[in-house]
């Protein structure tokens, strides 16, 4: 019952994005814009290429710049141009590409960007209609603007690590680079706002997105507690700070997760384990009272779930109206009946990696999926992109001999 892949599900077709990213936030932003049809061109240094080509794990544990799984995932849906920005002729070529592009994304600090000639003034002089977006760790203004950082720093500085994990132990980074992802998503929103306004006749805007503030924007309501009441929401060791029950429970063959918003849902959790006495207990009526008795109540649920299969708890719990989910491992995620019914996963093939599975699209357009392109080899599209940007073949060949492009 898979979804058809269709060009009409690529609403960004015709949008040209020049991608100078070196961090996962910029990389994911380019992947997303490319997924929905933008022509995203990654500029990498000849020879070594983008830094993520040199970060493992590698396919088959073979350290090779075309086999990094980080590069494979984060740099999908784009083309690659190998161009040496360390040389004046390379920087001139970058300005030629800036004239070709609608959007330029980068993720370096303001001082590093200026040192490489990537100033707002220079880019705007090359192309006044270019939307420039900088996805930096701390934003491009303020005293901390030149501090570097990737995912761990974004989660540390943005308040999410302090909220995740056990209050008696170290703050915890959520798995899988979520600080970078949420920054990329917010940046994609701001970039599209700027593109729409520019297309409607407004001046091209400069978009400055802070990874730290992107993380701080998704703390549920911890920022509101802090700002409005100067109250600290502490780490809850995986429990929801307000809803109860709101946590992961072990079961026979894995884990389930429950998040109840109402007394009825909380009662149903005890019906699910045939504890009808607790299900009828008035202690469950009020959210704050439930949470005050969390330890004893959860002990009963833990005992009741322990010997039950995960999928039985999921389906029977849903039938009782409980917001319950299974905690998928990667293996079981691939077999999730809902995701399989949507044909969610991309089945990719890369000449140096072989066959692999990648995450699918986050949304459908008119019921259709947008398609997928594997990550490029270093410089795979240099000649084609330079031709489209109006560079004569003889000029490209000369630059290639001089080692400026590859």
């Amino acid at each position: 019952m898979g979804r058809p892949v269709s060009p009409s599900a690529r609403p960004l077709e015709g949008l040209r994005v020049l991608d100078l990213t070196r961090e996962l936030r910029g990389a994911y932003c380019g992947r997303l814009l490319g997924e929905y049809g933008a022509d995203v061109v990654l500029v990498e240094p000849p020879g070594r290429g983008n830094p993520w080509r040199h970060v493992g794990p590698y396919a088959g544990d073979h350290e090779h710049q075309e086999k990094s799984l980080f590069f494979l995932h984060y740099y999908a849906n784009r083309r690659s141009v190998a161009l040496d920005l360390g040389q004046p002729a390379g920087r001139d070529m970058l300005m030629t590409l800036a004239r070709w592009a609608d959007v330029l994304i980068h993720d370096t600090t303001p001082s590093a960007a200026a040192a490489s000639g990537l100033t707002a003034a220079a880019l705007s002089a090359a192309n006044p209609r270019l939307v420039v977006a900088a996805l930096t760790a701390f934003g491009e203004t303020g005293p901390g603007r030149d501090l570097p950082g990737g995912d761990l720093i974004a989660n540390a500085a943005g308040g999410l690590a302090a909220l995740t994990g056990d209050p008696a132990r170290a703050p915890l980074r959520p798995g899988g680079d979520q600080g970078e992802h949420i920054t990329a998503l917010h940046a994609a929103v701001a970039i599209m706002g700027a593109v729409l306004a520019r297309d409607a006749g407004a001046p091209a805007a400069h978009v400055d997105v802070s990874a730290r503030e992107s993380v701080a924007s998704v703390l549920e309501n911890a920022m509101e507690f802090a700002l409005m009441e100067e109250r600290l929401v502490a780490r809850q060791n995986g429990r929801h700070p307000i809803s109860w029950p709101g946590r992961i429970f072990p079961c026979l063959d894995g884990f389930v997760v429950i998040s109840c918003g109402s007394a009825g849902q909380a009662r149903a959790c005890f019906t699910l384990i045939d504890d009808h006495a607790t299900a009828a207990d008035p202690v469950l009526e009020d959210r704050d009272v439930r949470r005050a008795h969390a330890d004893e109540l959860e002990a009963r649920l833990i005992a009741g779930f322990r010997d039950r299969p995960r999928d039985d708890l999921f389906h029977q719990g849903q039938a009782l109206g409980i917001p319950i989910g299974v905690v998928h491992s990667v293996e079981s995620l691939l077999e999730d009946p809902q995701l399989v019914a949507y044909d969610f996963f991309h089945h990719g093939e890369h000449p140096d990696v072989g066959r692999y599975v990648d995450a699918g699209p986050p949304f459908l357009v008119d019921g259709q999926a947008p398609g997928y392109a594997r990550a490029p080899r270093l410089g795979e599209h240099t000649a084609a992109v330079l031709r489209e940007a109006g560079v004569e073949e003889a000029v490209r060949q000369r630059l290639e001999r001089e080692g400026i492009v590859a």
């Binding site: 701390f138 703050p171 706002g193 429990r239 409980i322 990667v330 809902q338 990648d358 995450a359 699918g360």
Partner: protein, 396 residues
């Protein structure tokens, strides 16, 4: 001050509740779109019942609601009445975007299936964000942000090394669904500007979150290996962790990405030069050495010294720290907005600065039904008609 007026001509119907839908509309409002948040009095936005509470009682006391719904106007509408449906029809005709996050049966059940919405306004971008999907075996199952952490594979990746999976400190899939939907809507508006056609966007929140599983799927399908839970450790970078400092619950995050950075950190630790592979083998020893260095020191001082050496380091900040942070203040991330019942209070976000466009101050969130008369007036209803609709219960 920070509301970038990029989308001034765009009108959005926010027919959503709780977090994901309202956050999508909030971001569009931060970019300058005009948002009308539609509620019904007997089923008002559930966020109105969530703390922090800034006023003694009533639906207009929630700080969480006020934050998620600033810049919006609010109306109350009962779609179970013919008059309420008539207002909804006119709203759909007059708008560019409709965003909703109910289960797939709700809007069709109220008389507004996609076919009818499209017939009313072929230019409308309709964004639905069901938990699991508008079709498929789980379409009618319930979900909240925390349950989708499990269903998407994200919860399995979070936790201390070799221990059970843990929920993140926020209901992350809610926010992910919201930001993803805002992006989807803007992308569809770009297509509309070129083709004149609206769109039906479906953002299954499980899929929006599963899209963020990073390299886990490739690791499993290529190398037949599950990274599993690693605490704060990284698949490749060593060291990469959070270390205790002096004070109550004070910590510093430290990351070394390559041999050159290690050489600089190693000099402080009195440890030798090591390759990445050697560092990975001796990770426990390295982490102990760093923890010894930081344990009695101030987190800010350690971070400052390491950064001066060219090592990525930053203290762990809480939301309360952020509220007092001079850099955050200098960026203008926090803005004080006066609200009729909550009074003047500081609000966070958005996480961007956009230069070169006109901006205006953020407006306070609507009190329940505050703009019903004004919005209906703009839709062409006279005062008599509004009074009749109210008497009929259509505006309840």
């Amino acid at each position: 001050m920070k509301r970038a007026r990029l989308l001034e001509q765009i009108r959005v119907i926010d027919f959503s509740t709780a977090y994901a839908g309202p956050y999508a509309a909030k971001l569009l409002g931060d970019l300058g779109a005009e948002i009308v948040h539609v509620e019904t009095r007997d089923r008002m936005d559930i966020m109105r019942g969530y703390p922090p509470y800034g006023a003694p009682s009533g639906p207009d006391r929630s700080g969480s609601f006020a934050s998620l719904n600033r810049n919006k106007r609010g109306i109350t509408l009962n779609l179970k009445t013919p008059g309420g449906c008539d207002v909804m029809e006119r709203l759909i005709r007059a708008s560019d975007v409709l965003v909703e996050n109910f289960t797939p049966r709700v809007l069709p059940g109220l008389g507004f299936p996609w076919e009818r919405i499209q017939a009313l306004n072929a230019r409308l971008v309709y964004c639905r964000m069901p938990g699991f999907g508008a079709s498929g075996p789980a379409r009618d199952y319930r979900s909240y942000g925390p349950t989708l952490e499990g269903q998407s594979g994200l919860a399995y990746m979070t936790g201390y090394e070799d221990e059970a999976p843990l929920r993140m400190g926020c209901s992350y899939p809610d926010m992910v669904g919201g930001v993803t939907s805002a992006f989807a809507i803007l992308a569809a508006l770009r297509r509309r500007a070129r083709t004149g056609r609206g769109a039906m966007l479906e953002v299954p929140q499980q899929q929006a979150a599963a899209a963020l599983t990073g390299i886990a799927l490739a690791e499993w399908t290529v190398n037949k290996r599950l990274s599993g839970r690693m605490g704060n450790a990284h698949q490749w970078f060593v060291p990469h962790d959070v270390y205790r400092c002096a004070g109550d619950d004070r910590w510093v995050a430290i990351v070394v990405r390559d041999d050159a950075e290690w050489a600089r950190l190693a000099s402080c630790l009195g440890l030798p030069l090591m390759t990445r592979t050697e560092r990975a083998e001796r990770r426990a020893e390295i982490d102990r050495a760093i923890a010894e260095l930081t344990a009695s020191r101030d987190a800010d001082a350690v971070a400052h010294e390491l950064r001066a050496l060219g090592v990525e380091a930053y203290p762990i900040r809480t939301a309360v720290d952020l509220a007092r942070d001079p850099h955050v203040a200098a960026r203008g991330f926090v803005e004080t907005i006066d609200h009729p019942t909550l009074g003047p209070r500081p609000y966070p976000g958005p996480p961007w600065q956009i230069t070169g466009v006109a901006t205006s101050p953020h407006r306070a969130a609507p009190q329940l039904g505050q703009h019903t008369d004004a919005v209906l007036g703009e839709l062409g209803y006279g005062a008599d008609e509004i009074a009749r609709l109210r008497a009929d219960g259509a505006l309840f």
